[in-house]
């Protein structure tokens, strides 16, 4: 739910509560005030009547449907204080029962005792209720409209730097060359937020560059000493006065160096893929990439007595960086050749849904899904770096493709599902 809708609803709910409570309080207050005013009026009427009796008006003239004055036997009574009560009586004009307020008092006027029984119509609770409700509903509607309007202005104006920053973050990419551009604002919180965003994106970009530089340097710094050592060993071989055993030692060292160099290159490649440095997603003809790799590896497979069969469509275009497509396919085929049996087979099938590479081979001695982990090998093949499938998985991951490894009936199958 949008922040605007949420806050508007929240304010409306809050004002609804306030208006409900306010309405009840107002209703009670008005009712109380009305009763007090009526009592005051009855008392005033009483005083006026006393005055009129004092000035000699006869009681009979003063009596009407709201006023009843009785002359009392003077020995029987004494003055009483005001007694107010609510009663219901028939309204003379409306001709229906209405709520009345009544004042009964006995008072001594000109030496004689009179009983005053005065009544006045009360304003009804229903009327008060209706009045208050109508007023509050109108007010609430007005306030609601006002809240929406005010909130709109608030969001457009006060929160606009926030939304601009949000927009910038959404389009932020560590690979961007330029720093993130955040709007100017004089709101303290947004200033803090922008300062934080700026710092974080700056750090992220810097770390990305450092990492990128590191992977490049690591490769450079490592390959050069390897090249030096390898060159020295080759010079040693050339020197001519080494015996058989010594030459084999040199040979062993050369192979280990070569492996070290390959590990370095593979790890560098992995972090380059992770860093998204291969982001050319122009469509590649995947079918052609597979065909080229099959052609390239066919001879090497045959030299190991492995037969390679394939079924490929003429063209299959997929949005993947062509360098990555090549690495993915060559790693899968290399893996199939490497972990094969002498006289074994490889089947490569490609369609618009998936690439599947199966080969004959011994059962792996670890669960197949672990074979995608770095330096995990199903068979201890000494020449294997244990990185080929990790690289293949990484390539599948960054393209949002699924990759599965299955072993059943002496057949290894790796499937890459394109989405």
């Amino acid at each position: 739910m949008k922040l605007f809708v949420k806050s508007t609803l929240f304010y409306l709910l809050a004002s609804l509560i306030v208006f409900t409570v306010g309405g009840i309080v107002t209703y009670k207050q008005v009712k109380k005030e009305v009763a007090r005013e009526t009592d005051y009026y009855l008392n005033e009427t009483f005083r006026r009547l006393v005055g009129e009796i004092k000035s000699g008006k006869s009681v009979g003239v003063l009596n009407n449907d709201k006023v009843k004055i009785e002359l009392l036997d003077k020995t029987m009574v004494k003055d009483t204080f005001r007694v107010y009560s609510d009663t219901i009586s028939k309204h003379p004009l409306l001709n229906r029962p209405e709520a009345y307020r009544r004042l009964i008092r006995i008072s001594k006027v000109n030496g004689q005792f009179y009983k005053f029984d005065l009544m006045d119509v009360l304003i009804e609770s229903d009327d008060v209720y209706e009045g208050v409700t109508a007023a509050f509903v109108k007010l609430f509607v007005f306030l609601g409209l006002f809240i929406i309007a005010a909130n709109t202005i608030f969001f457009r104006w006060i929160l606009s730097p926030f939304y601009q920053s949000l927009q910038q973050i959404m389009f932020f990419n560590v690979k961007n060359k330029d720093a993130i551009h955040l709007p100017e604002t004089n709101t303290r919180e947004f200033k803090l937020l922008n300062a934080f965003i700026f710092k974080m994106t700056h750090n992220a970009r810097r770390d990305y560059l450092t990492l990128k530089e590191f992977t490049e340097n690591a490769s450079h710094e490592m390959q050069t000493p390897v090249a030096i050592a390898q060159g020295k060993l080759e010079l040693l071989m050339e020197s001519g006065d080494l015996d058989q055993d010594q030459l084999q030692l040199v040979q062993g060292a050369t192979q280990a160096l070569s492996k070290l160099s390959k590990i370095g290159k593979s790890l560098t490649l992995l972090s380059k893929i992770e860093n998204g440095e291969f982001s050319d997603t122009r469509v590649s003809n995947f079918s052609e990439v597979v065909a080229q790799n099959i052609a390239h590896f066919r001879e090497l497979a045959l030299l190991r007595n492995v037969e390679m069969n394939s079924s490929l469509p003429g063209t299959l275009e997929l949005p993947i960086d062509s360098a990555l497509a090549d690495i993915l396919v060559s790693n899968l085929i290399k893996n199939a050749i490497q972990h094969n049996l002498n006289g074994g087979w490889i089947k490569i099938a490609l369609d618009e849904k998936k690439l599947s590479v199966s080969n004959s081979g011994l059962a792996p001695n670890i669960p197949t899904d672990q074979l995608f982990n770095r330096f995990k090998k199903g068979q201890q093949v000494s020449s294997s770096l244990g990185l080929g499938l990790a690289i293949a998985k990484k390539i599948a991951d960054i393209n949002n493709w699924q990759i599965h490894y299955d072993y059943a009936q002496e057949t290894h199958t790796i499937e890459v599902l394109f989405n």
Binding site: T224, Q251, L257, K265, T268, E299, S330, K334, I337, S384
Partner: protein, 225 residues
């Protein structure tokens, strides 16, 4: 053949000079761009061996200079960066070849000779070794007058041997020469033997002595000894 090696790692520079010197190359060394440009302004070289990352700048500067002033000089880039971009830039700027560190010295030797052949002997496309004559244009191999039919791999293997005659070639360097970097995943390089065996058979049956000497467990040497 006179070559200038521009490389800031002195140990590597030394290795290269020693190895190439034994093969009859005249080596000059340089470890910075400034020094290299000085040397290139005063002397001419057949081939420049160029490292891309140098302390005082990029090797591409040297490449631009050569293209401008001495276009007849061959250039082989050696870089630690396995970056495709660098390779493309280098070749576009006119480099003849590009190698990634680490490399086998016999491979470097063979590639330098190939560049030299292309650059210097434009009329003459024949390589001779004793009775063997190879025409690099038609890719025909003859022993005396007799045509020896070789497969592409056998032909490449023979060229590699002749470029590195009298030198020890490991199975690994032969394998990488023939199949590129992609052979590292195989357990052994015994499959190289298949091609060696076939080549040996074809040459000897054409009447040459057996030039290919096996160095047990290690590799081969192409020699008349």
């Amino acid at each position: 053949m006179k070559i200038l090696i521009i490389e800031d790692e002195l140990d590597l520079l030394e290795n290269l000079c020693t190895y190439l010197g034994k093969g009859g190359f005249l080596c000059e060394k340089s470890s910075s761009i400034q020094d290299a440009l000085d040397k290139l302004s005063n002397f001419t070289y057949d081939i420049v061996l160029l490292d891309i990352m140098l302390p005082d700048g990029s090797g591409f500067e040297v490449l631009n200079f050569l293209k401008d002033k001495q276009p007849e000089t061959g250039v082989l880039i050696i870089s630690a960066k396995n970056a495709l971009d660098d390779k493309i830039t280098g070749l576009e700027l006119g480099a003849d070849d590009y190698m990634t560190k680490p490399f086998h010295l016999p491979e470097l030797n063979a590639r330098l000779k190939a560049i030299y052949r292309r650059r210097k002997f434009q009329g003459q496309k024949e390589i001779e070794f004793e009775k063997i004559r190879i025409n690099t244009e038609t890719m025909e191999t003859r022993v005396g007058d007799e045509l020896v039919v070789l497969t592409l791999k056998e032909y490449e293997l023979l060229l590699f041997f002749i470029a590195n005659k009298k030198r020890v070639l490991t199975k690994q360097s032969i394998a990488e020469h023939l199949w590129g970097d992609n052979v590292d995943f195989l357990d052994s390089f015994d499959f190289v033997y298949q091609h060696i065996k076939n080549l040996r058979k074809k040459l000897t049956s054409a009447g040459t002595p057996d030039y290919i000497k096996t160095i047990y467990g290690m590799g081969y040497k192409f020699t008349t000894d």
